[in-house]
């Protein structure tokens, strides 16, 4: 079969027609059905308008997220508020911000010092617990404990010393 014959045969398929009974019934059924006119925005709900809005919204949100992540928001807001608000003492605000910043630096230094001191104490205690302190001689402590009368409110040795000092 040549291409021309094929195309002729395809054209002859135009002879296929719907049943007149179906045509009539279907037409009556469609035209008698109540047509609910929906709002235009609803009809294009899944169409171009909705897609455009979704795309636009996502772009705005993405841009906002990027600005926040990069920390640009602070500088933008500072620039906006400091330059645009009337009656704002710009110099005063900047001095106050510097003072706060300096206080924070000092507190950070102190925190660092305490951290170092705590570390040294920790090391000393660790050594003491392992090796024992040099001055904590158990014999000396025992001797002092035996000669010192904790029950007697007057110690004769102390009294003698005090008398010597007063002369």
């Amino acid at each position: 079969m040549t291409e021309n014959e094929l195309l002729q045969n395809l054209k002859s398929l135009k002879g296929i027609l719907p049943r007149s009974e179906f045509t009539h019934q279907s037409k009556m059924s469609i035209l008698s059905s109540p047509r609910t006119l929906k709002p235009k925005w609803e009809m294009v709900g899944r169409g171009v308008l909705a897609e455009s809005l979704n795309f636009g919204l996502s772009m705005v949100l993405t841009a906002a997220a990027v600005v926040l992540v990069l920390g640009g928001a602070t500088s933008i807001l500072r620039a906006v508020f400091l330059n645009s608000l009337p009656g704002v003492d710009r110099e005063g605000l900047l001095t106050e911000a510097d003072n706060i910043s300096r206080d924070i630096d000092i507190q950070l230094n102190e925190a660092e010092y305490y951290a170092v001191a705590a570390k040294e104490t920790s090391v000393a205690l660790r050594e003491a617990s392992l090796n024992g302190p040099a001055h904590a001689n158990p014999l000396l402590i025992q001797n002092e404990a035996s000669t010192f009368d904790f029950q007697d409110p007057t110690n004769s040795n102390i009294d003698d010393l005090l008398n010597t000092l007063s002369q």
Partner: protein
């Protein structure tokens, strides 16, 4: 394209039932043939055609004239309706159903020896890819322009011409192999 088609569409949009009735009368045979050649079941073709026109009537406000006919928009609805039908229940075409289509044509004055030729042709069309079937029917049975087909199948005119070329070649091969 129907004369004063856009005026009829506007009236139909305004709710004039008679205007849509005229559009229906003009396009029903075309849409019915398009669907029937794709599904090959008369009753299903009738149901799908009815559904397509009902959707068109309910959503006619969505149609906007952009240089293509109301028909292209109708074909798109019919195509989507058929795709949904295929997605839900695809059935094989029997020879009896193909013959039924052929008989419909013969009853309109065709010769008896045409029956075999038609059967072979319809069977071959159904063996083509979906997109090739659609382009072939719209272009060579219904005489739609490539621009209108492009709008109906949501592809470029260039793509339509390419599909058309492939479809004709494949169909020719299939029909000649079947002889």
């Amino acid at each position: 394209m129907l004369e004063d088609e856009q005026k009829l569409v506007k009236k139909a949009k305004d709710g004039e039932v008679e205007a849509f009735g005229l559009l229906y009368d003009h396009y029903l045979p075309k849409i019915y043939r398009f669907v029937l050649l794709k599904v090959s079941h008369r009753e299903e073709a009738e149901d799908l055609t009815h559904q397509a026109f009902l959707k068109a009537w309910e959503n006619i406000n969505q149609y906007n004239f952009k240089g293509y006919s109301f028909g292209a928009w109708l074909y798109r609805i019919a195509r989507n309706t058929t795709v949904d039908y295929y997605r839900n229940s695809r059935s094989e075409t029997s020879m009896e159903e193909v013959s039924e289509i052929a008989i419909e044509g013969i009853s309109l004055g065709g010769a008896v020896d045409k029956k075999m030729e038609w059967e072979g042709l319809v069977k071959s069309i159904r063996r083509l890819k979906e997109i090739e079937q659609e382009v072939l029917i719209m272009r060579f049975v219904e005489d739609l322009s490539p621009k209108e087909i492009a709008e109906a199948i949501e592809k470029s005119e260039g793509a339509v011409k390419l599909i058309q070329h492939r479809a004709i070649n494949n169909l020719k091969k299939m029909v000649n192999e079947g002889k």
